[in-house]
Symmetry: C2
Subunit: 239 residues, 2 copies
């Protein structure tokens, strides 16, 4: 019933526009009574985004079950949680692309979408706040990272939608989330030639510890970075 | 006239609630005709936030005039632009705190506020996109940083509002923006801490040149990598 109503609503929005379609039109097309509509959707806007509630619930469940794994990087967990949203869009490219175009044209839908996006952001921030606990600036960090994850996700998603749903949506979003993980993610464990030393007068910018590292010029950059990361991870004062 | 209407509106919202106040009530209190209201405010919601349009215009003008200075760090410029919003709130603590409480209670106002925040975010992202130009992932970086700046600004602003407007609003927001600048800002010392040396017996894995680098332990990893990359780029045998 819910799917029938959402499908009838969307057909009509495409045919007559969002403003030009009433709830009465939708229930007539779906062949049900008016009260049925409001049993499933609080408003006409909700019928345009029928899957966000389920998706929010899935995201919440994923994060409450511990994210990726206990003790894993919280930033990895929220990136993985954001992918749940992407998969919802990618599961039905044609519908997603048409809805994207419709949303661009209807201010009320854009506003609705902003509220939904904000709820995802708050869900991610809430998880990060719990993970960061009493860390200094934990709440601030949680909110900034959640906003960055949402912005990156939406950048990848939008470029896929703008392309008409061509190409690999997951790859576009993974690439965008990569920027956030690169900046905010926890360094991976590895072994290597870098060390964190304290103190080193005259080196660095004078605020305490410095990294001193030696690596082969021929080593790939990622391996050099890995060594650096591992040195940072081994340092007692983890960032 | 605009100020008189906004003040009458806000008094009534405080007395009767937002939903319990009509535009007719507002114009009666202000002693003007109904059409005057809509000359200044498209909707009742707009009267709750009478300064955002001016503030958006000021932000746009600041960024179009080149931000802080030509060639300056784009991240510094958007942080400075965000402070324009903060100063609008801080100029009138009592009004800002009351409005914050009102907004918490009225879903329609929260939605309106989300739209305003989104416009600030788009303004900041647009500026960063222009500054990053054709850089790889410039648009992505612009959107992620704009979202991070807005989230940090709002974290500082909200903690000040929640405290009832006590304390130093600018200091709270500066502290929050500091996290974004630390992670995304341009390094103060752009070059010089990493070098590629030839030869260095006993160091590296024996295949010739080695990288020796020293960086502040407090520098974000990506900035350390940037230094490494710049050292590699200066080396004649480019990777």
């Amino acid at each position: 019933m819910r799917e029938v109503l959402a499908e009838a609503a969307f057909q009509l929005f495409m045919e007559r526009g969002f403003e030009g379609t009433t709830v009465d039109d939708i229930v007539a097309r779906a062949g049900v009574g008016r009260r049925s509509f409001f049993r499933y959707f609080p408003s006409k806007e909700d019928a345009v985004f029928p899957d966000h509630e389920r998706c929010l619930a899935e995201m919440t469940a994923f994060l409450e079950s511990g994210g990726i794994r206990d003790g894993g990087d919280p930033v990895d967990a929220v990136c993985e949680a954001a992918r749940i949203v992407l998969r919802m869009y990618a599961a039905n490219p044609e519908f997603s692309v048409q809805r994207y175009r419709l949303t661009r044209e209807v201010p009320g839908l854009r506003t609705y979408e902003l509220s939904v996006v904000r709820r995802y952001e708050r869900t991610l921030a809430g998880y990060l706040r719990r993970r960061y606990g009493a860390q200094r600036d934990g709440a601030l960090r949680a909110e900034v990272i959640a906003a960055a994850v949402v912005a990156a996700h939406n950048n990848g998603l939008r470029s896929w939608l703008r392309s008409g749903g061509e190409g690999d949506a997951e790859a576009a979003v993974d690439h965008a989330l990569g920027l956030v993980r690169e900046v905010w993610g926890r360094p991976a464990q590895a072994s290597g030639d870098a060390a964190v030393l304290t103190p080193a007068p005259g080196l660095g910018d004078g605020d305490g510890e410095v990294i001193v590292m030696v690596a082969s010029r021929n080593a790939p950059l990622w391996r050099v970075v890995q060594r650096l990361e591992s040195a940072l991870a081994e340092s007692p004062a983890l960032k």
